[in-house]
Symmetry: C2
Subunit: 360 residues, 2 copies
């Protein structure tokens, strides 16, 4: 294979507090085998994209706290491709950082940006759409996203309104709306010309860097002051990071840019944003329990999600229906599945306990 | 205090599988703070009896596996007073063993035999009844038990039928029945002249040893062959133990002997034989939850018993009613309180798993 101009950035900086107690600040969701498949979410993401992007072109950007976790889980990736952010700054900063860094390696590079913690069941469709996107990005000054057909008026996603052109495989984006309220989300669903933003972006480094110049000029100037892939890169980044805006790539670039395109893609996608979405995407037994390990025995138990972090542990569950039961060394969570949105509140209550932080 | 002729034997050999996963073969119930009071069951038993029996006269007999646990929990007791059985042989064998051993130290000794894992709330009544029993045993060839007024036709206890003599503080026992079936237990309760056998026995060493001579002659001969409190005691016991019958003191002696007396005693007693009895005997919060530690937060949860073995762990429990939730390093148990009799079955099912033993 001649040297590929296609690169990948896996974004792995999140904390995933909705997955407490499995996901913690020390060990967030993307580094866990949330679905019980034998591979963690970031490993699944790597496995998928490495079929079309060579390993040496795959980068991970994460909080610097998680660099060693990433190295452990993805030994295939070169150490210098695992990049630590000095602090949380939302997604615009890490996108320009990685675009700058990769442009310095290869000014012709196309880039796919992937969240580290999403589920994609239809791998072949995903790979085909990504190849289409790479081709488009190589030849056009397009900012491309993959769009998922929405199944419910979820207020946790960005929505992409497109301008249809019959028979085409991709469409120009008319509006880009991050996390609407429920009323608006419902009208989006009814109109039929909206897709969910899966947070998967494909662009040429030149295209995205000029979009930054145009829409986030100050951030561009900050990142323009560093010399990438040099000895001074890390210390320069440490200096500029505190100064740059906390803004998402959606708000900062995609809502404003005029050259955004979407490729509708039926990916069997889930952002696995809640335990309920994990439950829905997991294999289940004949009683509709999603059970993470063989040492769990259930009696009269239906529709539960049960996870034990420790393999050396067993569980006996008698009589629960539609519950989430998650057990780790630090905490046990038992709550109705329908209350999974309350987990952040539970965690807050726990924090308020004396020495409560140690359970998080 | 002149040298007391009153001795105590705490029997601490059981395994308590109905308290799985808290009670395990390695760490049985009597060595645990099942009620969350800050003292384990055997420590509570020691604290109670040491008010009237001097520490040097208190013995513990347990499986040899638990000798070091006993030493850790009861540093007040001399090492030579902590006696290990080489194998489980029910209660007749350990009773004759300890009577022989204590007789060799003091041929006039009165003995109280106490289970290590029972709850007694009315300590003063207990102590008063024990002093009465010691006095009776000193002057009479009586085998004395404390009898508890039954509150339900429980089939897990022995029942004592007594011959009433108005105004007396103790009664001659007419029949002694170990674990009747439900039908019989009901007639016992209705008749009004039955008490529960709490497994607390008081006798002079001479009385109990002659009862053994009479009723379990072969066992008497075996135990007659050892020299107690000598260097050779342990190896002699190792030789005879495999040969002696597996029989309870109730079946082997008390059902047959003619000189059995009972002292009715309102002790606030529970054998804490099930999680439900622990629940009933524990302090509860305003939602009737019995909660073992401060790091447990409940929402819409009522009537539950919740125990975490590890102090470094928290729990969030949302929405359960009348459940048992017990969590240890090895296992998590969640079951309706009314199913606590099934715990032995759960444990059996777990044993049948591949490598299931490691969770027990």
């Amino acid at each position: 294979m001649s040297k590929s101009i296609n690169y990948c950035v896996i974004m792995a900086g999140g904390i995933g507090s909705r997955f407490w107690p499995m996901s913690t600040q020390k060990y967030p969701k993307q580094f866990q085998d949330i679905l019980g498949t034998g591979r963690t979410m970031i490993q699944q993401t790597y496995d998928r994209i490495s079929q079309i992007v060579p390993a040496e072109n795959i980068f991970v950007i994460t909080n610097k706290e998680y660099i060693s976790l990433t190295e452990q889980q993805l030994p295939e990736i070169k150490t210098e491709n695992i990049v630590g952010e000095p602090m949380m700054k939302n997604t615009a900063a890490c996108n320009i950082y990685m675009a700058k860094k990769i442009e310095a390696l290869n000014p012709l590079a196309n880039l796919i940006v992937l969240p580290a913690d999403h589920l994609i069941l239809k791998e072949n469709i995903f790979l085909r759409k990504v190849e289409l996107a790479f081709n488009l990005a190589e030849k056009n000054d397009y900012l491309i996203t993959l769009g998922i057909k929405p199944t419910r008026p979820d207020t946790g996603f960005g929505y992409i309104q497109f301008v249809e052109k019959k028979g085409a495989e991709y469409f120009k984006v008319k509006t880009f709306t991050e996390k609407p309220n429920l009323e608006i989300a419902k009208t989006f669903i009814e109109s039929g010309d909206f897709l969910w933003n899966a947070g998967i972006f494909i662009w040429n480094v030149k295209s995205i860097l000029s979009a930054f110049d145009e829409n986030l000029e100050e951030m561009s100037q900050h990142f323009g002051s560093c010399e990438y892939n040099s000895e001074g890169e890390i210390s320069c980044i440490e200096v500029i990071y505190p100064k740059v805006a906390k803004i998402s790539i959606d708000n900062g670039i995609l809502e404003k840019a005029k050259n955004v395109f979407v490729i509708p893609a039926d990916l069997g996608w889930s952002d696995l944003g809640t335990w309920t979405s994990v439950y829905e995407n997991s294999p289940k037994d004949e009683e509709n329990n999603s059970i993470g390990s063989k040492q769990i025995i259930t009696y009269n138990a239906k529709g539960n999600l049960i996870r034990l972090k420790t393999k050396s542990k067993a569980a006996i569950i008698d009589g629960l229906e539609n519950y989430i039961i998650v057990d780790t060394e630090k905490a046990l969570l038992i709550c109705p599945r329908e209350n999974d949105q309350l987990i952040k509140d539970y965690v807050q209550d726990l924090k308020n306990l004396k020495k409560g932080d140690k359970f998080l």
